[in-house]
Symmetry: C2
Subunit: 172 residues, 2 copies
Amino acid sequence: MAAGQGSASGTDGQDTPAPDVAHALAAADARCARAGAQLTELRRQVLGLVLESDQPLGAYALLDKLKALRPGAAPPTVYRALDFLLEQGLIHKVERLNAFVGCVEAGHDHAHGHDHHHPHQFLICRDCGTTVEISDHAVAHALEAAAQRVGFTAIQATVEIEGRCATCSAAA
Amino acid sequence: MAAGQGSASGTDGQDTPAPDVAHALAAADARCARAGAQLTELRRQVLGLVLESDQPLGAYALLDKLKALRPGAAPPTVYRALDFLLEQGLIHKVERLNAFVGCVEAGHDHAHGHDHHHPHQFLICRDCGTTVEISDHAVAHALEAAAQRVGFTAIQATVEIEGRCATCSAAA
DNA sequence: GCCCGCATCGTTATACTGTAACACACATCG
DNA sequence: CGATGTGTGTTACAGTATAACGATGCGGGC
């Protein structure tokens, strides 16, 4: 079993045995422990699959991968795990793609007390589809200010910028 | 032709409850004319339905309403119209709700030359579900700046802020 | 007039995304 | 032991969106 981490399924040229993933999983463990949440085997597997991919994965793509580890997996299997991971802030959903990515800050060890969602934004390249997560505080502040201006109390923001990444810009 | 739309009546042929809607439709006409696009009867009907609603409408809710005007309407009927209206910037999609709203700026008469998408943001209340569109330039600039900081060329941004509207905040 | 290409729309079928509902296993607690 | 709560397996279904093909109508070139 446990061979699951590295050579996923001949994805692309990049075959990362990913010590990053192992580290992120350990951080996730600590985070869940602090939050009193259980990072079960299933949830860890799903998180691992999301983290392994450098690009957003749809729920059913994830399901396909998960089936290699859990033959009986069905849609609710993966959706329940995803819901948990979203609640814990370990992954984010890219609404425009109906897909999920590991959270860039999940690996950071914050002082306890900061266990919730952090502001984040996605940059999605129209040409190559590459999706990058950033966490820009100026954007967060602008959003907060804009909301307050109309008496709205912001809790969480979905920000997804579509455009052209540096690589594709250079190519064009 | 007695396809009533519920409220307004009495006026001859035209069955438009809101003068806002009529105005917006006229503006849409002008806009499409300038863009060399055809605002056909179907598209105008769908746009009218979206504009009539003060809240986001899902494609199938829209389809149900459209069936009153066009018995044969099917999913592609409404999706094609929505695609056109999105391209023309006459409506926006709220990704988190899989729903569509009329564009707040579509009714404004801009100097020609400004026929494309404008920056916009949605405020979605968790309690009452009310969705409001704003167009905050500070947010737009912050997004642009954040993107440029990583060499990304922004073309269009989806911004949806979830939280509590003024009314629901006051109630709580 | 006639043909052709194009955009629009009708129609059927299907793919993709997400949930409801119920059953079972196990752990904790009185 | 029974009761409760969480996590998971399993079946079925709801909701969202698109593919594919046909029919119509309109404008341009012959």
